[in-house]
């Protein structure tokens, strides 16, 4: 099909608008992070004087490096546990027949709609009483709760699409049940599981409400909460440069994930939502 020049111009303009609108805030925060402290308030979009000091500064502060460690650790563990538990549940929902399975989906949907702030108060009180306040598990547990519905929905949508007959076919061909599962089904299920893991990780990495309410020190504070409490170099300077640099550091993994796995993220979110 031939495209008219008018069509090509139109599409180029549309694409340009999307790209510029999506990237301006990213370019801006990167630009801020490279601005020399003396020029940080000059209001120019790009740095006039470049510097690495904001980055070297935050990596010298344990406030930031601890938070980074907490963010990575907590998000990874919460993702791992939720995806494993969700795999069990989604397998059962997609493949087995048992009463109450619709109920599980409805219940998961209800949880997904829960306003997190509603349970922050009770969790705060409970965690203080049982010693989970300001600890890794204290954040991992609520993250799992909110990640599980997302994971169960996405995974059961993926699992429904798997041709499970292949498992029996492989067994007919002489494979053991174990082989049939790991050689035939696991490779088919892996992309869905991986996609779900990405979505869940993004969710945990993004959280602010729980992090700011249920942690208080570098023991468990994650980067979003730590950034919001960055102290300035002196009491009169806002720590704009440090905040910008820290923001860029937590954003880099996200951009890499999105660029590499764009197709999976699209597939995962549309699979989970449309049939819901």
């Amino acid at each position: 099909m031939k495209r008219s020049p008018r069509e090509i111009t139109g599409w180029s303009a549309a694409i340009a608008i999307v790209v510029i609108a999506s990237l301006i805030p990213i370019v801006w925060i990167i630009s801020l992070s490279f601005k020399d402290p003396s020029t940080i308030a000059d209001g120019s979009f790009l740095p006039t004087k470049w510097t690495w000091t904001n980055y070297s500064g935050i990596f010298k502060q344990s406030l930031f490096t601890d938070a980074l460690r907490n963010s990575i650790g907590i998000a990874l563990i919460a993702t791992l546990i939720s995806v494993v538990l969700a795999c069990f549940a989604a397998y059962a929902i997609a493949r087995l027949d048992f009463p109450g399975k619709r109920l599980i989906l409805v219940f998961a949907l209800a949880i997904a709609m829960f306003p997190p702030i509603s349970i922050v108060g009770p969790l705060y009180n409970m965690w203080r009483n049982i010693g989970l306040y300001d600890t890794w598990p204290g954040l991992i547990i609520p993250y799992m709760t909110f990640a599980l519905p997302l994971a169960i929905f996405t995974l059961s949508a993926f699992f429904r699409e798997i041709p499970w007959e292949l498992e029996q076919a492989a067994q007919v061909d002489g494979a053991t049940p174990f082989q049939a599962f790991f050689k035939v089904i696991a490779p088919l299920a892996a992309p869905g599981v991986f996609t779900t893991a990405i979505l869940v990780f993004l969710f945990c990495w993004n959280d602010f409400v729980f992090a700011v309410s249920l942690t208080s020190t570098s023991k468990a504070e994650t980067v979003p909460a730590a950034i919001a409490s960055f102290p300035g170099a002196s009491q009169f300077t806002a720590p704009i440069g440090s905040i910008a640099a820290a923001a860029v550091v937590v954003t880099i993994p996200i951009i890499v994930i999105v660029l590499l796995f764009q197709r999976r993220i699209v597939a995962g979110l549309t699979a989970g939502a449309v049939k819901g």
Partner: protein, 312 residues
């Protein structure tokens, strides 16, 4: 989709399974329950139990600064909240910060979904770049926009030649917060709409084209009606999500300049004033409002799903 779901149903003997459970069916049930149980238990333990506990707390005078004064006071906390003008102001702020961003997101998200769906070149990169805001941490997005608007550091006042600090006026604070929210969440809206767009068969468009329908007519008469379920799902998700807005407002000004939302109010009561009773009453009210919104939407689904949209 419903067809594939049906064929993938397990291969248990279908007839008369209700009355006479075979050994195998019973084993299958047990396996099903035990596989679902761990996830189900975690979800119940960390959501149902706390919301019940929040309700219990909301009936008490529970102030961590005065633990000795704890006692059961019935619905007094609710009376205090519901008669306070602050609460109603915050509800209004939250409604504004829900309705305006979600409406904008629906329109922009639809445009973005159409672009992502039909783009004739560079589809992969365009989709990837459009998705970046979805992945960005909300706090980071909020900081970027806040510093963009701030009088002494920002490029926006610089560009527009504004003299005063834009973020000290209520109107401009709202504008800034709304821009930030819309930027961050439009891609999510667009993705949900994209899923619906993929279900619209091309042949219908071709047929309408042959009959002389313009692109505009085809959009309103074919695309929109067929996408109705997807639009409602997207609106539901985004409305509930927008209603609990917290991160962006917290980062911008912690609710100053008339931007305090109900979530910020609950946070302040619970964690700054340590008034668990009053804060829990606010939390329970937020929960009830969210449940009401969800209920209204789901009633709407029933109406919308009736003509042809009833997939499940």
């Amino acid at each position: 989709m419903s067809a594939t779901a049906a064929t993938n149903q397990p291969v248990t003997p279908a007839p008369s399974r209700k009355r006479h459970l075979t050994e195998r069916a019973r084993a299958e049930r047990r396996l099903g329950w035990s596989l679902v149980a761990p996830a189900g238990i975690v979800m119940i333990a960390v959501s149902i139990y706390p919301i019940v506990y929040a309700f219990v707390l909301s009936l008490q005078r529970a102030d961590l600064r005065f633990p000795a004064a704890n006692k059961f006071i019935g619905l007094d906390n609710y009376k205090t909240v519901l008669t306070s003008p602050l609460w109603w102001q915050d509800v209004w702020h939250t409604v504004v910060l829900t309705v305006i961003p979600v409406s904008l997101e629906l329109v922009i998200g639809m445009a973005l979904a159409l672009i992502m769906h039909r783009v004739i070149f560079g589809r992969g990169p365009v989709r990837a770049i459009a998705l970046i805001p979805y992945g960005i941490v909300t706090v980071v997005a909020a900081y970027s926009w806040r510093y963009a608007w701030e009088a002494d550091s920002g490029w926006i006042p610089h560009l527009l030649g504004l003299k005063s600090d834009p973020l000290t006026s209520t109107f401009r604070s709202y504008l800034a917060i709304i821009v930030s929210e819309v930027w961050k969440t439009t891609p999510f809206m667009a993705l949900l709409l994209l899923g619906g767009l993929a279900l619209v068969p091309d042949e219908l468009h071709e047929a309408a084209k042959v009959d002389g329908a313009t692109a505009w007519q085809r959009f309103w008469r074919i695309t929109i009606p067929l996408m109705k379920p997807a639009i409602l799902v997207a609106l539901l998700f985004r409305t509930l999500d927008a209603f609990r807005i917290f991160d962006t407002v917290y980062i911008f000004n912690q609710g100053a300049h008339g931007t305090e939302t109900v979530s910020i109010l609950a946070y302040n009561q619970l964690l700054n004033r340590l008034n668990l009773g009053l804060g829990s009453a606010v939390s329970v009210l937020i929960f009830l409002m969210v449940a009401l919104i969800a209920f209204l939407f789901i009633k709407g689904f029933g109406a919308a799903a009736a003509p042809g949209g009833g997939e499940r």
